[in-house]
Structure formats: structure tokens, C-alpha cells
């Protein structure tokens, strides 16, 4: 490997480059090393789901920042802290840490598949690993700058889910902004992502939706409720596979209101909505605690009614499928969101042979997962408990996205406001990411060859991007 010159900035992904899943990026500048995120890839299991940790000496990392609690950004953190020679400090926001604790316990259970022949533990980490590492995670407040060993960083609201942060880092006069997953839309409970007041030299930005355009939120909400209404009125069942926390709460706010307003059409309580998640129930008070980080609308509701807006009138929690009496039309929200295994998968297999039932995907579906496969409307799907047999699929399958990632226009406007000369695209499948790169290059085409030329990178995992910073910035830093 080449020796880095003193002014070289290096970016290196262990995961999440040209893919969605296992987000994990390394930054190196002036002898400082930062890791951003430590996720898993939901389409793979065990060690395969990890970022390529063997490709980097984790003992050299000074600081690890976690953007938000989703498993593709946070679920390999206990592994990094307990199973590798990582010795750095770890930071996340308060709500992220509050939810992370519950979420990963669930993750340990879901991925528990017993011990192998040689007695090797099959889990990536245990409940004990989780507990031990949890206490060593430090929290950051939004908008307050933390300095560790010459690395300064500040968290800004990213919109995406409760507690989701963008991090602006500053090392020796160079500023880097990492968006994590972000949304520029005010939805039912969260605000739009913020634009940090100080400019950035390097922007590491998500590209999930590439050059696609979202329909306006109001029309997506209308479609969602209409589709569900039409299905249950004909006696069908609706399965909404969701990630337990975050976007599920947004869907529930929509459905709860609709059910209240259309009680008569829906037979006055004859069509129940269930949420099969203990986890979500346990985390309701986290949503209440951090209501001050949400938008004005939800804060006002909370203030005026003095009740937790996340305690729903028309939605009941189900502990397990045994207590579920499946006698007529109903709406069921269940995890995991991509139907890999667990409750949502069990319900899918139960309901998919019936033509009048509906599976409605509202999240982003990663390549290689059951949710992605289902959207191809296959004639049958493999049974999870009996891999030799298949189950006919006659139910309807539809997708209406409430995934809270920017679309092209939102991303472009944000990128223009940040006005960094170096843009590194992450968190996107190769094709949408490639299209976004071309669109950005043509958008900034007039700057080509000038001092303000915008460079766009879409590296693969474990392929480094090296940027040279000479002159003004460094001189300024030296002058300080």
C-alpha cells in the first residue's frame, strides 16, 4: 500500500459502497482515523453479513460515530467492540442509544440459530457482549461539538428516523459531512434534515433512490389508506412488513388517524389493526421522552392532549401469533421489514396463498431479501421452516414507499447547498448510484476545469478514494 502524503485524505468503505446494507466507512487524514457506522447486511447471515473488517486494522481507529439505529448502520457495533481489537471511542445520539439497546437484544434473538458441531457460538455476539459494550457507548447532543484527539464532530438532525444524525467532522481545517440516511421531507412526526451552517469540503452522501422521484407525501398517504381500505372491505387481510421502530411509527400515525376518521365505513371497530412487536411496545416511552426532537405538529398534539401520540386508539399490540385469532379481515404490521424470517415471514406464509389478501411494502427493500423477491410477483415462495417445500403466492403485492430517504431533487438541492467540491456516494445499489453520479456530473458540468470543479466518486467496497488537500485550507490550519 502506498504511503499517504501528509495532505492526503483517504476514504475507504468496508461496507455500504455500491450496495445498501452493512454501512461502514473509514476516513483518514493527518494521522487521525474515523469509522462511520458499523452495520450488517440484511440479505446475509452471520459473519457474511458483516462489513469486510478483515480489510482494515481496527485497532487504529480513534472514533466511531453511529448515524442511526437501523441494523444496516448499527447492528455490528457489539461485534466490533467485543470481538475485534478495536479500541476507539464510540458515539451516538441519546435517542439512538435508547432504542439501540432494545433493538439489538431482539437482533440477538432473531439471529440465534443454535450451536454448531464444534460447539462454536453461532451468534455474532451475545446478550453479555451487548450489555458490556453498551456501557462504553458515549452520547452526543445535537448541535454541540465534541473533540477527541484533534477530531471535532457535530451531530445534526437527519430526519430519517428518531435520533438519526448527520455528522460534520473537522480535522486539521478540513470539514467532512456524512449524511447517513436522510430525509428532506417534514412527515407526520419528524422534521426535514438540517443544512449545517458551516461549509464542507467532502460530502459523503446516501444515494438509495438514485435519480428517482417521490410522489408527494399526501398522495402516497391517500394511496396507502385506499389500498388497505379496499382490501379489508372485501374481506382481505393486509400484511405490512415493517422495521420495528422508526418508519413503523409513521405508518401507525397515518393508519390510526384514518381508522378514527372512517370508523363507520370500516364497521365501527370490526377491522382490527395489530402490531406484532413487543419491541415497539417497550420503546413507546422512548418516543415519548424524545418528542422534543420531533416536528411542531406532533409536539403540539402531545402538549394539547397531554397524552403520548404514539399510544394509538385503533392499534393493539400482539405478543405472538398464538394469541392471534385470525377470523376475518385485519391489518397486521410485523417485523422484520424485509420478510427474511420471524413474525412477518410467518404471517406472509400464512396469508400469501389467498388472492384477496395484500402484502404492502412501505420500506426500502434490499437486494437479496424476500421483500425484494416478492415484488417480482413470483408464483410461489420458499417456506422458511421447510426449505424443500414452496407456498403458492396468490395475494396482491404492492409497494408505496415511506422509507424517508431523499429522492433525486431533494438530494440535488441539499448537495448544492452543502457545495462541497468532493462528493462520495454511498448507500445505494450500483445502478441507481451510477445514474446519480452521471446526473450530478452533468449538473456541475459548467465548473469542470475550474478551481471549483466538483468531483463525484462511487467507489466499491475496499477500494480507496484519495483526495489531496494542499494550500489554502492547510495554510489556514497552520496559521491558527
Amino acid at each position: 500500500m502506498e504511503q499517504l502524503s501528509n495532505s492526503s485524505f483517504k476514504f475507504f468503505s468496508l461496507g455500504g459502497s455500491n450496495e445498501v446494507g452493512r454501512s461502514c466507512h473509514i476516513l483518514q487524514f493527518k494521522g487521525k482515523t474515523i469509522m462511520l457506522d458499523a452495520g450488517v447486511h440484511p440479505a446475509y447471515e452471520g459473519l457474511s453479513s458483516l462489513p469486510f473488517y478483515d480489510e482494515f486494522d481496527l485497532s487504529t481507529i480513534d472514533v466511531l460515530l453511529i448515524s442511526h439505529f437501523h441494523v444496516d448502520h448499527a447492528a455490528s457495533l457489539p461485534y466490533v467492540m467485543q470481538k475485534t481489537n478495536f479500541q476507539g471511542r464510540v458515539f451516538m445520539t441519546h435517542p439512538t442509544k435508547a432504542i439501540y439497546r432494545w433493538l439489538l437484544r431482539d437482533f440477538v434473538r432473531v439471529t440465534s440459530i443454535g450451536a454448531s458441531s464444534s460447539g462454536k457460538d453461532e451468534n455474532l455476539y451475545s446478550d453479555e457482549d451487548l450489555a458490556e459494550s453498551f456501557d462504553r457507548i458515549e452520547t452526543v447532543d445535537f448541535h454541540s461539538t465534541v473533540e477527541v484527539n484533534g477530531i471535532k464532530f457535530t451531530a445534526f438532525h437527519a430526519g430519517h428516523v428518531l435520533g438519526a444524525a448527520m455528522y460534520q467532522l473537522e480535522i486539521a481545517g478540513i470539514r467532512i459531512l456524512f449524511t447517513g440516511d436522510y430525509s428532506r421531507e417534514v412527515d407526520r412526526h419528524l422534521n426535514s434534515a438540517e443544512v449545517p451552517p458551516l461549509p464542507s469540503d467532502v460530502l459523503i452522501v446516501e444515494s438509495t433512490f438514485g435519480t428517482a422521484t417521490h410522489e408527494p407525501r399526501a398522495s402516497r398517504e391517500r394511496k396507502l389508506t385506499q389500498l388497505i381500505h379496499n382490501t379489508v372491505i372485501k374481506g382481505g387481510r393486509v400484511l405490512l412488513p415493517v422495521f420495528a421502530l422508526g418508519r413503523a411509527q409513521e405508518i401507525m400515525l397515518i393508519l390510526d388517524e384514518y381508522w378514527s376518521n372512517h370508523s363507520d365505513d370500516l364497521g365501527g371497530g370490526q377491522v382490527p389493526i395489530y402490531y406484532a412487536s413487543n419491541l415497539a411496545r417497550k420503546c413507546m416511552n422512548v418516543f415519548q421522552t424524545y418528542v422534543n426532537m420531533m416536528n411542531d405538529d406532533i409536539r403540539r398534539k402531545f402538549r394539547d392532549s397531554q397524552t403520548n401520540p404514539f399510544i394509538f386508539k385503533n392499534i393493539s399490540y400482539l405478543k405472538n401469533l398464538e394469541e392471534f385469532q385470525d377470523f376475518g379481515p385485519s391489518v397486521m404490521l410485523a417485523s422484520p421489514g424485509m420478510l427474511q424470517s420471524g413474525l412477518s415471514r410467518d404471517i406472509l406464509e400464512k396469508w400469501c396463498p389467498e388472492g384477496k389478501n395484500l402484502v404492502l411494502i412501505t420500506g426500502y427493500s434490499i437486494e437479496g431479501t424476500m421483500a425484494k423477491f416478492l415484488m417480482l410477483e413470483p408464483e410461489s415462495i420458499p417456506s422458511i421452516n421447510n426449505p424443500e417445500s414452496t407456498i403458492p403466492r396468490r395475494c396482491q403485492v404492492d409497494e408505496i414507499s415511506f422509507a424517508a430517504h431523499v429522492d433525486f431533487q431533494e438530494n440535488l438541492e441539499f448537495i448544492e447547498q452543502i457545495s462541497a467540491n468532493n462528493i462520495i456516494l454511498v448507500h445505494g445499489e450500483s445502478n441507481p448510484m451510477g445514474r446519480l453520479k452521471s446526473a450530478l456530473l452533468s449538473n456541475f458540468g459548467s465548473l469542470k476545469g475550474t478551481e471549483n470543479e466538483v468531483r463525484v466518486f462511487n467507489p466499491r467496497n475496499c477500494v480507496e478514494v484519495i483526495l489531496e488537500f494542499k494550500g489554502i485550507k492547510i495554510a489556514k490550519a497552520v496559521g491558527n
Binding site: E45, L47, S48, F52, Y53, D54, E55, F56, T84, N461
Partner: protein
């Protein structure tokens, strides 16, 4: 009585072991065992390399025998396409590092093809 080969993933603290009968395992079989033991899947999404922990030399010959009681370092990295964008083919020295780990799962040892 069964034999043991110790292995450690490069980023891991702990050492694991593969149990087998006999005096040694070929690199091919050892990789297959490690993939199987760790449920790494069909091998198409990654490549697996093994190294001598003392010399850091890669065991790049699938037929080489690793004697029992040895220790090796394993390294999981992204799969790469056999031919790079600049038109370069497989170079002999690094051929074991190219491609992915699928052959260790399907059980078909790699046959080095002569240049045509």
C-alpha cells in the same frame, strides 16, 4: 482421535478451530471447512484467503497441505471480477486472490488454465 487446525479471522481477537481426521488438510479443504463452519454462504459474494501467521505469506495453492496443529489467519474480502476494467487478465502470482470463494463451496478445485 481427531486433529485440529487453528484459524483466526484477521479482525478477530479469538482463535477458532477446525476438527478433522488425518494428518493435515489441503488449503482447498480447509477453506471449505471454514466457510461451512461459519455459514458464509455460497461463496459468490466474497473471497477467502489464508495466511501463515508467522511469515504473512498467503497460501495461494489450493493443493498445499496444512499440517494438523498449525495456525492460519483467514481474511474475508469482497469478491472481485476475474478481469479488471483495464483489460488485464489473471496474473499468475495473484491468481488465487482473484474471483470469489464459490469453488470451495461447490467442491470443484480450480484448474489453472494455460494461456491460449
Amino acid at each position: 482421535m481427531s486433529s485440529t487446525i487453528f484459524y483466526r479471522f484477521r479482525s478477530q481477537r479469538d482463535t477458532n478451530r477446525i476438527l478433522f481426521d488425518g494428518t493435515g488438510l489441503t488449503v482447498f479443504d480447509l477453506k471449505r471447512e471454514i466457510i461451512h463452519e461459519n455459514k458464509l454462504g455460497d461463496g459468490t459474494h466474497f473471497q477467502l484467503r489464508l495466511y501463515n501467521p508467522d511469515t504473512n505469506d498467503e497460501y495461494d495453492d489450493d493443493s498445499q497441505v496444512i499440517p494438523r496443529s498449525s495456525s492460519v489467519v483467514a481474511r474475508r474480502s469482497p469478491a472481485v471480477r476475474a478481469f479488471s476494467a483495464n483489460g488485464g487478465g489473471m496474473s499468475k502470482g495473484s491468481s488465487a486472490s482473484l474471483g470469489n470463494a464459490a469453488r470451495y463451496v461447490t467442491g470443484k478445485p480450480r484448474v489453472l488454465q494455460k494461456k491460449q
